[in-house]
Amino acid sequence: MKKAIGVIGFMAVLAACSKDDKGTGFTTVETITVKDLAADTIIGITPGAPPTGGMPFGAGKYSFYSLEKNQMVASSDSASNKWDIAFRGTSIITNSGNRGPAAGGAFVFIGLFNDLKTIPKDSSFRVENAPTAFAIPSGSNRGWYIYDGLNNLINPIPGRVLVIRTATGKYAKVEILNYYKGGITPAASASDAVKTNSQRYYTFRYSYQSNGSTTF
């Protein structure tokens, strides 16, 4: 099945400017919200009963994204510098290490999106070293999300900012807002079918600093 790749990169240009002090560089970055980025959405369920069967699965393909251009990048360009981050299920990768040809990277900042005005000097960007280490740690409660096993829901952890070094060595900050279609997490009481079919649609907001500085 085809993923709905034609993402509706939706620009909600929120007035976002980082304050600036006279003298030093004057920067203005906008905050962009992307809605319903399909990230390897579910196309079937493995036959059989749990625990071996009954698992929902997608096509297994990443959805590549350029933060600089605010648009999707075709899979055929996966071995290029055209993309900065890519999504597949709950995995978010950067264009770095053994996942991409560029010198990207990332780390998870704990705090508020708006409070991250300058990337701290002592920050250390991680690069992809799958499967043992990802730049953005995979798994529940390790990177950007927590899995609510009781209700079978994925919730982004509040206060997590993904600080990204892009393919071209610029910096961006990303906050994942939601993992479900329309940016609305299904109710705990919703059926598993609803939860399965509406998952893997990312809503996130980001700021991209095009001048190469670490200040937003």
Partner: protein, 695 residues
């Protein structure tokens, strides 16, 4: 007469009558004997710790069948629904309340919960509930308190049966008999319980309460050698079979599974009591119990899944009570416990896991004056597998005047790490191959894996595994009792429990390839604080009522500190992260801030009726915003009120008829209260065939 029968019929049909019972169980005279508070017989009015007694008559008139039925109507107790029916006391999880039958502990907990449905109330004389840490007498598990079920030992030649039938084809048959001849006494009890079970989830063939058959029997033989020496042998066996049909709709394909669960519970006690002198009594008890759970899940396509768990517990204890003089008495005791477990959840079910515990306790009771009682005691438990526990307790009671008294106690409770926390050996091959290992297993397995180069990294927590300690609580209870007139009694108890070293699972190592290994560590601290109040009023010979209320605050100090430091976040209306405010924090999940109960009863001659209301305010159920703790932004279950009623009559020819309706308002919550059916009805017929008083 006609009128009364008319009223009875009306009560049955329209549930308009509300009432019940003998006034003595309503207000209590203070002369009831309680054993659980001190391990010796004491009048409840002289006990310095918070104690509640539930009488046989109240159990009967509430129409209860299983222990959870009657406990849910008590102030401050909430019945949880995961892993069977567990009891939350003073806001502590079911793991931390010790359940005793005739003073001996029940074993066989799943996920820390001892399923109270395993216990029939058909032969209970009274239930004694002691709140506050009681490890100074009872050792492990008595952190929140102790519930002791005292079985009935009638002093008569008697034979009676009781049959109850109700909704979901729930049937309960009890047979009680006792023989008393010279110095010999025998009591026998049998109970058969079965239900079709039910599901309130629409279109589901899987039942929240599965079809169950239970059979419980209990036999007690005692022989009095002399006025000084008595031997008693007790045997109890409970056997249950639970069947469940699970059908999973997998993209249109229905997969049927059939589950069968067999639980067995066997308890035997031999007790020799001997009065050495007027002042010294000695009690020797040998207790052995076994619990086994056998589960089998057959799937229409696939290999059967089996799970087996067996736990054994044997204990020898000697207790000596000294009455030194009118003012001072002393209780000392010591014992030895051997506990074993076998399970498919451990490395090999044939490998027996063993723990040995030696313990000693001493308690003294000093009455410097008639108005003043001071109790001081302590117990030391030495464990083979982990750190020892020392549990002191200090309590006093002061009677200002006959109407007004004050109780205060402070004590320490503990819960030893259980076999699961020591020996679990579980690897989930379906989801990422992560493993959860008990601490003993984890140290062994990880060091072996490390030796052969299969571990990629050891986390700091790995090095703390050898230090696993029991979980500890420190509890303070301060209570007031005010009885302005005989018909009215008001009690209030303020409690504060600080729980340390709570055990939780943590990541300790990564295998080569990234699979995670978790184990158990003492990592959390929590507190519960609150007030519980009870008011009982006997209006006149016919009418009486009782009101109970508990206010509860819970939390985790580390979580509060993280909030204060601005390290915890939630989401605002736009879905953007924001800092969590202290006022948004709600504490531990599954706790209601307000819980209340109300009971009104009416009784004329042999006829009774009652109406009981149980209220619980909303409680947090899941962490919607993903910040790892519970705050106002999360998912809550709605508060609710349950109303139950019963009415009945005792005829002079030994027949008792009773009918009742539970959950009159038909309140249901599919998601959060799957075990609460809608409105249910029952009818009871009981007949006392023989009842000859003997001397």
């Amino acid at each position: 007469m006609l009128l009364r029968i008319g009223g009875f019929a009306l009560g049955l049909l329209f549930s308009i009558n509300l009432w019940s019972q003998h006034s003595d169980t309503l207000s209590g005279t203070g002369n009831e004997i309680v054993v659980t508070a001190t391990k010796t017989e004491r009048k409840i009015s002289t006990v310095a710790v918070p104690v509640t007694i539930i009488s046989q008559q109240r159990i009967l008139q509430a129409g209860s069948l299983r222990l959870n039925d009657i406990l849910q109507e008590q102030t401050g107790l909430f019945l949880t629904a995961a892993f069977g029916s567990g009891v939350q006391m003073q806001g502590l999880n079911p793991d931390y309340t010790l359940i005793l039958i005739d003073g001996e502990p029940l074993i066989g907990r799943t996920g820390g919960v001892l399923d109270l449905k395993r216990i029939t109330v058909g032969n209970i004389k009274q239930i004694e509930i002691v709140k506050g840490p009681s490890s100074s007498l009872y050792g492990s598990e008595a952190m929140a308190g102790v519930i002791n079920i005292i079985t009935d030992k009638p002093k008569a030649n008697a034979l009676k049966f009781s049959l109850r039938y109700g909704s979901f084809n729930t049937a309960d048959l009890s047979l009680n008999g006792s023989i008393r001849k010279n110095n010999f006494t025998y009591q026998g009890f049998g109970n058969l319980y079965r239900t079709d079970g039910f599901s309130i989830r629409p279109n589901s063939s899987e039942r929240a309460i599965a079809p169950i058959e239970r059979f419980t029997q209990q036999h007690n033989i005692s022989y009095r050698f002399s006025n000084k020496t008595q031997l008693s042998i007790n045997f109890r066996f409970n056997n249950e079979r639970i069947k469940n049909i699970i059908s999973v709709n997998n993209n249109g394909t229905i997969i049927q599974s059939e589950g069968l669960e067999k639980n067995k519970d066997l308890n035997t006690t031999i007790q020799l009591s001997h009065r050495l002198s007027e002042k010294i009594t000695n009690n020797t008890r040998i207790y052995a119990t076994e619990f086994s759970a056998d589960q089998e899940l057959l799937t229409s396509n696939g290999t059967p899944y089996t799970d087996f768990f067996k736990q054994r517990f044997a204990r020898a204890e000697n207790q000596t009570d000294f009455t030194l003089n009118k003012k001072l008495s002393l209780t000392t005791g010591a014992g030895y416990i051997i506990e074993t477990a076998n399970s498919t959840r451990y490395d090999k079910s044939s490998n027996t896991k063993t723990n040995r515990i030696g313990y000693a306790f001493i308690h003294s009771e000093w009455k410097p004056s008639d108005a003043f009682t001071i109790v001081a005691g302590a117990r030391y438990d030495d464990n083979e597998l982990f750190a020892a526990a020392f549990s002191p307790k200090l309590a006093f009671q002061y009677k200002f005047n006959p109407k007004f008294s004050l109780k205060a106690s402070i004590g320490r409770g503990f819960k030893a790490p259980d076999f699961r926390q020591l020996y679990l050996n579980f690897t989930n091959t379906a989801a990422g191959s992560y493993s959860v290992l008990g601490t003993v297993e984890a140290q062994k397995i990880i060091s072996e894996l490390n030796r052969i180069g299969q571990i990629s990294s050891l986390e700091n927590d790995y090095y703390r595994l050898s230090e696993l300690k029991p979980e500890f609580s420190t509890g303070i209870n301060i209570g007031l009792n005010y009885t302005p007139i005989t018909a009215l009694s008001i009690t209030a108890n303020i409690f504060s429990n600080k729980i340390e070293n709570l055990i939780d699972s943590r990541l300790v190592a990564y295998r080569i390839g990234g699979a995670q290994i978790f184990s158990y560590l003492n990592v959390k601290n929590a507190f519960t604080r609150g007030v519980e109040t009870d008011l009982k009023y006997t209006i006149n010979k016919k009418w009486g009522f009782a009101v109970g209320y508990q206010f509860l605050i819970t939390g985790d100090k580390d979580e509060i500190n993280r909030i204060k430091n601005g390290q915890v976040f939630t989401r605002d209306g736009n879905g953007f992260s924001s800092k969590l405010k202290r006022s948004e924090y709600v504490g531990l999940a599954n706790r209601s801030k307000h819980m209340a109960n109300f009971r009104i009863q009416y009784e004329v001659e042999k006829y009774f009726a009652n109406l009981r209301l149980i209220y619980r305010s909303k409680w947090a159920v899941s962490d919607k915003d993903g910040n790892g703790l519970f705050n106002t932004n999360d998912v809550f279950a709605d508060g609710f009120m349950q109303a139950n009623m019963a009415t009945g009559k005792n005829f002079t020819n030994g027949i008792r008829l009773q009918a009742g309706c539970d959950n009159i308002f038909n309140y249901t919550d599919v998601l959060n209260l799957p075990n609460l059916p809608g409105r249910t009805f029952y009818f009871t017929f009981a007949y006392s065939i023989l009842n000859t008083k003997t001397k």
